[in-house]
Symmetry: C2
Subunit: 359 residues, 2 copies
Amino acid sequence: MWEIHSSEKIRIKDIAERSGVSVGTVDRVLHNRPNVSKKARAKVDAVLKEINFQPNSYASALAYNRKYTFCCLLPAHDCNAYWTEVEKGLRQCVLNRGDFHLSLFTEYYDQFDELSFSEAAGKLWEKQPDGMVVVPLNLEVTQTFCTKLQKAAVPFVFLDSNIPEISPLSFFGQDSLKSGHFAGRIFMMQAGKDTRRILLMKLMSKGRVASSQQENREVGFKSYMAARHPDCVIVELPLQIGEEEHYDTQIGEMLARYPDIRHCITFSSRAHILGEYILQHGLKGYHLLGYDMIERNAECLKQGAIDFLIAQHPWKQGYNSVKALFNHIVLHKTVQQYHYMPLELLTAENYMYYIADEK
Amino acid sequence: MWEIHSSEKIRIKDIAERSGVSVGTVDRVLHNRPNVSKKARAKVDAVLKEINFQPNSYASALAYNRKYTFCCLLPAHDCNAYWTEVEKGLRQCVLNRGDFHLSLFTEYYDQFDELSFSEAAGKLWEKQPDGMVVVPLNLEVTQTFCTKLQKAAVPFVFLDSNIPEISPLSFFGQDSLKSGHFAGRIFMMQAGKDTRRILLMKLMSKGRVASSQQENREVGFKSYMAARHPDCVIVELPLQIGEEEHYDTQIGEMLARYPDIRHCITFSSRAHILGEYILQHGLKGYHLLGYDMIERNAECLKQGAIDFLIAQHPWKQGYNSVKALFNHIVLHKTVQQYHYMPLELLTAENYMYYIADEK
DNA sequence: TAACAAGCTGTGCGGGTTAACAGTTTTTGT
DNA sequence: ACAAAAACTGTTAACCCGCACAGCTTGTTA
């Protein structure tokens, strides 16, 4: 009924013919090399304009015969499955492009130590990267480094959180505010509008919320709650990272103190802490919403201890970050600037297809 | 902290050197062509065994310098946005691979006419396809055609619904049973467990449910309802395709007859029929769940007339089907056999990121 | 020993990049 | 006005890597 053909391929040879010059000259125009007269350049440009020439990226990459170095700057993470997934994605993308000579170097910084960011950045800088994946810290320290990259014409993409002032080649992440809002909608639909008290578990590190994502989602959530459920009280349960041995008693005390609470939410990826507590103590009637499809959460989902997870596609974020760099740098393709991951809701009924989708 | 490099590339030349023969001989061994002595083959095989050679797919595709014809056999669809999206995906995948010479031919068949399937298949067969995307009809007629393809060693992928007996190269679709189950879970969570009556809108064509997807989802849904909400009555509202002028009165009569109904579900992509009715008549308090992120549904979501949509990623299904053929046929890469699309829940809060994810 | 085939090597090709080189035109300085 | 220098242009060749075929070298058979 209909047919489509990949457009007739125009080669450098064809352009040369059409504009009445040699391939050498066309090549010089295409690569902005010197020694082309105005006339010749004009003729070639004219032809280029009307045909929208796109060189065969693969023949081109083959001929370049270059090695490419990508670098990646991430926050340190001991046991955080989210970042591990990101790294798997980064790595897989490099491995899938084995026909090109790619290298990927990764360094870590401490989220609460600006100096460590600069140090790690410095180490990567010495690798003379052709492109970078950066998880930004704050504006100041990130900008200092990125300006350096921009001056050296090294493209970089932001992952996880964005700083629009420093315009990166591309951004991969989730809209945390909207995410919190969405979480609120689902969470309260299940809780019902007569619920008077809910529990918010927060993961803390050195007295602060452990990640900016967590913080932003909470803002989105609270604005939703203020607008739609102003009478519902949000009871907070802060848990310190590194003090895992106290969690059990802290949770126990909290649930004892507010026996009417049945609905718990967290914006961290550790909903399983509550989920496992519920399973171990054989509690019934509790409903949990959390983030991230990591193994311990998945297990709770399966066993019915967690009702909902919101997925962020960390693997995809990592994979696509490197893919964007590759497309831009190696294949000279244009890449989209913003890539917001879908806000995906996972339950016991559908989580297996989430996993299947990640390749 | 860690680094990764795409593995040292071994070329045909290297293998030739190592095994003391010429590249031509290596090539013949690799492609199982005749005229290789046992000795030479043994030497080459020995080297191949120890190094796990993977040819540069792009250089290879370049050297083949072949044109590839893909064909696609779809059910006819006048105004069905779902299939239009599938087609856009198919097309985009071909366009994105402009560096190779691909052609795509599409033919349509009538879902209720087996003969039309065979006819359309026959037309495509004459194009001598290198690979096919097929949306199966029933086992019999599909098998007849696919056996022909298999005999001619033409790989094919199934899209939308699978027939495992005919083992295709790959399958792209959604698990309709689980999908119905998932829909039930979300739908009843919103309705609440005290709901006594719900409305099920069914799209009919020539006296039958208009698509097998719809039918299967309904089965999944009803099994969920029987297990979890046995006391809830499902009132059915069948609407005939082609009799759009009657819809308004049919819906009106139904709602008048069951004034207690507040929750409606459909397994077709036409939830907007109900949504638009609700908006036009300024009704309040109705809750709808439907399928597919098509424009009219999206509008209803935005306006609050539809609460939930379950997405099937039709664009992705189309895109990935062609991609699988391409990877297999042109790049000689291995492809996964089953690709179940995620069961993704869309609401007014998150639908915009679903759209953004489709590239 | 001629005839023939099997076995193997060498080479050109696909499309683009790069460099060297020779030949042409234009610019510059006197 | 004229030589010298600089700028421009076209040609050729090597290269990336794998594919495919022409044709050369063996070995076998009549």
